[in-house]
């Protein structure tokens, strides 16, 4: 899997690269419009993380160039502006997703995986973790071939944890992903616990476990 990061802020770029490399992606990174344009012209990527506000040009223009060349690279726009206009223009121009800064690393992985999955899993669309198999299309969850019925939130939590498996996912990241942006001003994220509890019950027969990490967040452990 090849990923290109286009980001002019070096520390931001470094964070993203570190985190994505750990997931065994091949990561390339550029920090200017010109370099990005060159890379896009020469290579193909599974996913491009594109910052709009580049010092020497607008990221949306890169997106246009890409589409003009008929390339099908997945594109996630990463922007500090979180402007509705940019989001709409970006999606209109063919971007796959729009991720406003600041974001949680777990969220970045989820978005990248979703884009990569949509583009690459032509034949095998199933997601597997331990003895659990998930079909993202139909949202069916099977443990050892036996279907388990999860509600929307339980399913979203499970998918998010699988996407970020073996990584600590903070409660805030999980709450914002599953319950949406609007939940964010709640005075505590402890309310997610009841859904986690239900999910754990339903995963009793599975070889994966949702582990709490010191009340900070959760982690998916896969029995080996």
């Amino acid at each position: 899997m090849k990923i290109l990061i286009v980001e002019d802020e070096p520390q931001m770029l470094d964070n993203m690269r570190q985190s994505l490399v750990r997931e065994h992606y091949t990561v390339e990174a550029v920090s200017s419009f010109k370099d990005a344009n060159d890379k896009i012209g020469l290579y193909e990527y599974d996913c491009i993380l594109l910052d709009i506000g580049l010092p020497d040009g607008n990221g949306l223009e890169l997106l246009q160039n890409l589409k003009k060349q008929g390339k099908e690279d997945g594109v996630i726009i990463v922007s500090a502006k979180d402007s509705l206009d940019d989001r709409l223009t970006g999606l209109d121009l063919g971007a796959d997703d729009y991720l406003p800064k600041p974001f949680h690393m777990a969220e970045l992985h989820a978005r990248v995986k979703a884009v990569v999955r949509r583009r690459n899993f032509e034949g095998n669309k199933l997601v597997e973790a331990g003895n659990v198999t998930i079909d993202p299309e139909s949202r069916n969850v099977l443990i050892e071939g036996e279907e388990v019925i999860l509600n929307r939130k339980e399913y979203d939590i499970l998918m998010y944890l699988i996407t970020n498996k073996t990584r600590l996912v903070t409660k805030a990241a999980l709450a914002e992903h599953v319950w949406g942006d609007h939940i964010d001003q709640a005075d505590s994220f402890d309310f997610i616990y009841s859904q986690i509890k239900n999910l754990r019950k339903k995963l009793e027969k599975a070889t994966i476990q949702v582990e709490a990490v010191y009340g900070v967040g959760y982690k998916l452990e896969i029995d080996s």
Partner: protein, 426 residues
């Protein structure tokens, strides 16, 4: 009271005082002049009498104290009396034949000598009727007063109104001026120096405040934008640190606390940006929003939070409330109010949402006294010490309500109620 009538009121009062005191002065001055001229006439008559007596001494034997035959009277007096006699004028009344009534008269008493004979001479003349004079004077003065006041009112209303027109024009515009709506003020042309000064000053002031308002708005927006990247870097660095290192419980919790606070900063920043965006009219796309359907959707989003706080959100829909507005803003409006009720509501109590025709309201039990209505919707106004509250939720709700001219109200009666309603006149 209007400016025009205000000056008229004082003018009327001052005029009344002026005219009254002037009338008193005028009356006495006139009376004095009349007496003076009467007395001159009487003295003249005396001289005529003396001359006549020299020609016709018979008149000296006229002794007619009642003035029945003549308008004069000679009374013989002693020499001693003559020497001590002092001329005098005095007023009395006498029956007038033509008026058939007692009328005031003036009597002049003097002493004259003819050889060794001494006489007291009394001459009488008709006097001005003071009561008639006062009455006439009063009638004419009241007339004058009325004419003056009505001409002043007329002048005020015709002339002054014309003169003050630029002023009224300006204040009418100022009344409708809203700095956040970016309205401009057309400064009316005038030849009057004071108005020109006022106009230029107002113009300067408005340009200056609009300038600072825009600058402030841009500052908030730019500051919020500029904060996003460092926030993102810090959050991600800490998340990577949590991932990459095996930390003990205390270390993890400390890091989580830092992350939580950065999260709070992020939310505050996002809220400030949102406020700027609402004020900058960046949510123009509109659709017909059904408040009932939207409420149900948001309640289901908040189910877990409510459950965690052992609260129940009850929704009663008794009518329809649909409005053309931006859907995101509608979500933000209702979400913020529901979230507010959940955060500040008392545990184990119910939250009641009622929807009626063109109104929506939410009630919750909370602190047992009323919140300060004047500052409730201000930015960073926090009640209690909830550490995760940004103090911007209600300010945002208010900004959305204002944008669509919705009334957003609050009242307290055992429980706190927030109410959204279409204004009655629309």
């Amino acid at each position: 009271m209007k400016l025009l009538n205000y000056t008229s009121k004082y003018l009327a009062l001052v005029l009344l005082l002026l005219i009254t005191s002037w009338a008193v002065l005028f009356y006495y001055a006139m009376l004095d002049e009349i007496y003076d001229s009467l007395d001159d006439g009487l003295e003249n008559q005396k001289l005529l009498m003396v001359e006549r007596a020299a020609e016709d001494p018979t008149i000296l034997s006229q002794d007619d104290p009642e003035f029945k035959k003549h308008v004069y009277n000679f009374t013989p007096i002693s020499r001693k009396t003559y020497l001590n006699f002092k001329e005098s004028y005095r007023d009395t009344s006498m029956f007038m034949l033509n008026e058939k009534d007692f009328e005031p008269v003036r009597i002049y008493e003097s002493a004259v000598a003819y050889g060794d004979d001494h006489y007291k001479l009394k001459i009488i003349t008709s006097m001005v009727e003071e009561d008639d004079l006062v009455q006439d004077l009063a009638v004419y003065l009241i007339g004058l007063y009325i004419i003056l006041i009505s001409s002043i009112l007329l002048l005020n209303n015709l002339l002054l109104k014309k003169i003050w027109k630029p002023f009224y024009n300006l204040i009418a515009q100022l009344r409708d001026f809203k700095i956040e709506k970016n309205t401009t003020i057309a400064i009316p042309d005038t030849t009057i120096e004071e108005f020109n000064l006022l106009n230029t000053t107002v113009d300067k002031l408005i340009k200056k405040s609009t300038g600072s308002y825009v600058a402030q708005k841009q500052f908030i927006e730019n500051a919020s934008h500029e904060l996003q990247t460092p926030l993102a870097i810090s959050i991600n660095k800490l998340e990577l640190f949590l991932e990459n290192n095996t930390l003990n419980e205390k270390q993890s919790k400390d890091l989580a606390t830092v992350l939580d606070n950065l999260g709070k900063l992020t939310r505050m920043n996002k809220s400030l940006l949102l406020l700027s965006k609402i004020e900058n009219q960046q949510f123009e796309e509109e659709a017909l929003v059904d408040f009932a359907a939207l409420t149900k959707r948001i309640i289901s989003d908040f189910e877990d939070l409510a459950h965690h706080k052992q609260m129940e959100i009850k929704f009663i829909s008794e009518g329809t409330f649909k409005l053309n507005m931006n859907e995101d803003l509608a979500i933000i409006l209702l979400t913020n109010l529901i979230k507010n009720a959940l955060i500040h509501g008392k545990k184990k109590e119910e939250i009641l949402i009622t929807l009626q025709k063109n109104s929506w309201q939410i009630s919750n039990y909370g602190i047992t006294n009323e919140l300060d209505k004047t500052t409730l919707f201000s930015r960073f106004k926090k009640t209690g010490n909830l550490k995760k509250s940004t103090g911007l939720g209600l300010a945002i709700a208010k900004a959305v309500a204002d944008k669509y001219s919705l009334e957003l109200g609050y009242n307290f009666k055992d429980f706190h109620t927030f109410n959204i309603a279409l204004p009655l006149n629309s």
